[in-house]
């Protein structure tokens, strides 16, 4: 089975994200980049499937991103992926989500695929659009935010669990399918040292747009960022006080609704 895993290089969840001086983006200095957290679940799910199937099943990692992405690709290879395709082209510096979809879809199609795993969203721009675009471009079904995955006994269909409000949805899908993984689907493994050593020698095939047969960047609707805004709150805890406890609590409930917009 040809198992495809998609991954993205993103700033670490703990990184301090600050707007740069020009106000045109984030400051990259002092930001640690890692594999997108949710993509790690995708890698693990791909590896688990490969181990279960055995034989000549193979996990190939696809990553679209800058040169530095090789670092996170190596991490995936260290975890056990067999090889990788790195799509790296100066024209793809900040592609529209559906452009990313089109490029990845083409590369995946060239490679051949039976199933695709990735995270439910990138924790940088949080758009969760690329996977839908890939599914559409490849003309395959998609199952988003999967919390469990297995193949049917005859191996012809995917059985996927999804958390929804108040329960778990059980979805059955034909193959190939793109499955986007949520927390809880598995516990990603810790790469062993022999794995890390071997990863250094595994092949990463670098592809440009031209390599993939694109004369120009595939067009797609894109949004332009007009302005970067820091969050209004300065991190200080807002202490809710009142003479009567009940008034303070009432005020807290109001703040949660009107300011935090959580209720």
């Amino acid at each position: 089975m040809k198992i495809i895993v998609l991954l993205k290089r993103v700033p670490d969840t703990e990184a301090k994200i600050l707007i740069n001086q020009e106000g045109t983006g984030i400051r990259k200095d002092g930001v640690k980049f890692v594999i997108n957290t949710y993509d790690e679940y995708g890698i693990e799910e791909g590896l688990k499937l490969k181990e279960k199937l055995g034989g000549d099943s193979k996990v190939t990692v696809f990553c679209l991103g800058p040169e530095e992405s090789t670092e996170v690709i190596r991490t995936a290879l260290a975890m056990g992926a067999d090889d990788a395709v790195h799509i790296c082209d100066p024209a793809l510096e900040s592609p529209a989500p559906f452009t990313t979809s089109a490029v990845l879809a083409k590369a995946i199609k060239d490679e051949g695929f039976d199933i695709i795993f990735c995270g439910k969203q990138g924790i940088d721009d949080d758009t969760a659009q690329v996977q839908g675009g890939i599914a559409e471009a490849l003309g395959i079904p998609q199952v988003n935010i999967a919390s469990s995955f297995e193949l049917s006994e005859d191996g012809s269909r995917a059985l996927i669990g999804r958390r929804i409000e108040g329960g778990n949805e059980k979805i059955e899908s034909a193959l190939p399918v793109i499955v986007t993984c949520d927390k809880g689907i598995n516990e990603p493994r810790y790469a062993s040292l022999p794995g890390i050593m071997k990863a250094k020698k595994k092949e990463i095939r670098t592809r440009t747009l031209a390599d993939l047969g694109f004369d120009e960047m595939p067009a797609a609707g894109r949004s332009k960022i007009l302005k970067w805004l820091p969050l209004p709150k300065g991190g200080e805890c807002r202490m809710v006080e009142a003479e009567e406890v009940s008034d303070a609590v009432k005020e807290l409930a109001r703040l949660l609704r009107e300011e935090a917009k959580i209720i």
């Binding site: 670490d12 703990e14 810790y190 790469a191 062993s192 890390i196 050593m197």
Partner: protein, 661 residues
């Protein structure tokens, strides 16, 4: 030569030949291990043998050790007698009197006579301890081990009785001077005036005695009494360097598919010699915080089982040529995962061990294999490793927030100052944990007050690697260590100051392995120095009673025991009490060896055991000099619902002393 003498020589020679083969086999077994060198400094080593073999220093550090001391020396004198007797059988007319004169021979005989009596008592007491008292340290789950001890003690007992009989007959026959054999003289009453062939009887006793000795020689290498052979070389070859130092692993070979130790051949020959040296005295177990809180780990049982495993393996491994034969994994059959993860690396076992066995390194070597090669470890360790990799601290706090505690305090940064006297290494606790941050603030306020020329690395500082190393993740540890060394090399400073004993130990002992050596000073030493130099006043607090808890890595590992106490005593108003277990024999808080970040599901919590000790003794407040200990005490007190006992770092105590002024 008599026929008897010829038979004896032949038997003795045969025994020696067999014994020689056994020893050769033992040495070949040891050589299955990896090479290890660094055994220079012969004078110190000889002296160490005198102190610890002849003087039995560590054995005598506990009262029950007197028994061993007596048996040891008693046996030597009995053996002197045995040699004399044997030579007498071989060379007619041989005796010590004939060679050394009656005075020397008399003293030998007298000591032999008296010591043997004491040994008898010691053996009776040993059996009494094993069967009636059953102290913690002698508890073992393998009945064969106890039976073996009893068997050997009984043999020695019989040997002594035989010796007395032989000497008594000598007295009756007038060949031995009774004035130098008071005990034998009493025994001689049994033989006096009886109508028996004393010569024949003496001969029978002597033969039984000598055959037992020959048997002993061949039995010893296959029993726990192999320590008679193993302990002396092990003491000679012992680690003279700092305690618990872990070996530096080499990751250059990228084709390696195994890191760390999974089978016996992965250990060095000296580590295997450790297995021969174990007496199964159980002192390690009686001091082990894991064992004492009902964890599955007992250091000596681990050694005992590893030796058994070595015995099982050696035949197979010695008969095979080369490395092509697979060794049997030590985990989980011989040692379990729960055991190796229960260890806090506190070092109490190694501190107590009379023949200087190093348990902790073996445990870490086994951890290394599981972590690095198999990626198999308690699940709560994975976030710790990942956090260290990405954010350089165990808690997943963003690395760029490392110096947030110092905001607004005007604390100099190394990157701005470049040259300074003292590098204040804040550490992960000091940087991120609320209580640790409080210590950082307290200590830096003291440094400022004393006008110390210091700086911190700020966000350039990353985890020192100590915990990762002891958790078995040597690869991660080396990444952290090398990065820190590179950072520190950018600046010019004279010494490193830290309030974390784990950092202290790793800078002192382990960074030099990577080519970085700089004096390291603990804040308890440094603050004491500042007060003594008059750069800081001693201060006073409202009357406060409390006990100082020795951190393992400070007291036991680095011998910093008096300094914190002296510092505390200088503060007016503090009355210092002591834990029962303190100083080098302090009891671990439960946080070392990465246990700080792991769940403790088996047995009693170690920190609760320590808190209970403090409550039983009514020591009052707890003063610490380690951020991990502080956390463990606070947690333990919380779980005992105690709110009126405070846990204070000594720097916090000093700050309190000034604010009360």
């Amino acid at each position: 030569m008599t026929v008897e003498g010829i038979v004896l020589v032949v038997l003795f020679a045969a025994t020696l030949v067999v014994f020689g083969f056994v020893v050769r086999m033992l040495i070949r077994t040891l050589l299955l291990g990896k090479p290890q060198g660094g055994f220079g400094d012969p004078l110190r080593r000889f002296w160490s043998v005198i102190v610890h073999v002849a003087g039995q220093a560590r054995v005598l550090s506990q009262p029950a050790g007197l028994g061993h001391f007596l048996i040891f020396w008693g046996f030597i004198f009995i053996t002197l007698g045995t040699i004399e007797h044997m030579l007498g059988m071989i060379i007619p007319g041989f005796s010590y009197t004939a060679i050394f004169g009656s005075a020397v021979a008399g003293w030998i005989s007298l000591l032999q006579d008296l010591l043997a009596l004491l040994v008898l008592f010691a053996i009776i007491y040993s059996l009494y301890r094993r069967f009636i008292i059953r102290p913690v340290r002698l508890k073992i789950d393998d009945p064969a081990a106890r039976n073996e001890a009893v068997f050997i003690l009984s043999l020695i007992f019989i040997l002594i009785l035989l010796m007395y009989c032989i000497k008594a007959i000598g007295i009756v026959e007038g060949t031995i001077d009774e004035s130098y054999a008071p005990v034998s003289r009493i025994v001689s009453g049994l033989f006096e005036g009886r109508d028996i062939d004393l010569g024949l009887m003496e001969s029978v006793f002597a033969w039984i005695h000598h055959l037992i000795i020959f048997f002993f020689l061949l039995y010893v290498p296959f029993s726990k009494h192999i320590h008679i052979l193993g302990a002396i070389p092990n003491i000679y070859l012992r680690n003279l360097g700092p305690m618990g130092t872990l070996s530096r692993m080499d990751f250059e070979d990228e084709t390696a598919d195994k890191f760390g130790n999974s089978e016996l051949r992965d250990f060095t020959w000296k580590q295997l010699l450790d297995l021969y040296a174990c007496t199964e005295c159980g002192r390690c177990q009686a001091a082990c915080p894991a064992f004492l809180t009902d964890k599955p780990l007992s250091p000596f049982r681990m050694i005992h089982r590893m030796r058994g495993h070595l015995t099982d393996e050696r035949k197979r491994l010695l008969n095979s040529a080369g490395d092509d034969i697979e060794g049997t994994p030590i985990i989980p059959e011989t040692v379990t995962e729960d055991e190796i993860w229960a260890c806090t690396t506190c070092g109490a076992c190694m501190q107590e061990c009379p023949p200087f066995i190093e348990h902790v390194q073996k445990i870490v070597d086994l951890r290394r294999y599981l972590v690095m090669t198999e990626s198999r470890f308690p699940s709560e360790m994975q976030p710790v490793f990942k956090n260290m990799e990405v954010n350089y601290n165990p808690w997943s706090m963003g690395y760029s927030t490392r110096a947030d505690w110092a905001e607004g305090l005007d604390i100099p940064l190394a990157s701005e100052k470049k040259e300074f006297d003292v590098l204040f290494w804040v550490g992960c606790s000091g940087s991120f944990d609320a209580r640790g941050q409080n210590i950082s603030r307290a200590l830096s306020s003291l440094l400022k007050k004393a006008e110390v020329d210091f700086a911190i690395l700020g966000t350039e500082e990353i985890c020192c690697g100590e915990t990762a190393r002891r958790m078995g993740n040597e690869y991660l540890a080396q990444t952290l260590i090398e990065a820190n060394i590179e950072t520190m090399k950018k600046y010019s400073f004279n010494r490193i100051l830290t309030f974390c004993p784990h950092g202290l130990n790793t800078f002192r002992v382990e960074y030099p392995q990577f080519g970085f050596e700089r004096p390291v000073i603990h804040h308890s030493e440094f603050l004491l120095e500042l007060v003594r130099e008059g750069r800081l006043p001693a201060g006073a607090v409202e009357i406060k009673k409390g006990a100082y808890h020795d951190s393992c890595y400070l007291g036991r590992y680095n011998d910093i025991i008096d300094q914190p106490r002296e510092l505390i005593k200088m503060i007016d108003g503090v009355s210092l009490s002591e834990f029962g277990r303190h100083g080098k024999r302090s009891f671990c808080c439960g946080a070392g060896g990465g246990r700080m970040w792991m769940e403790e599901d088996i047995g009693k919590r170690i920190n609760e055991e320590r808190v209970d000790e403090s409550l039983e003794l009514g020591v009052g407040d707890i003063f610490t000099a380690c951020p991990f200990c502080l956390t463990m005490f606070e947690d333990g007190l919380k779980s005992r619902n105690i709110e009126n006992i405070k846990v204070l770092d000594i720097a916090e105590l000093m700050v309190e002393a000034y604010s009360a002024e």
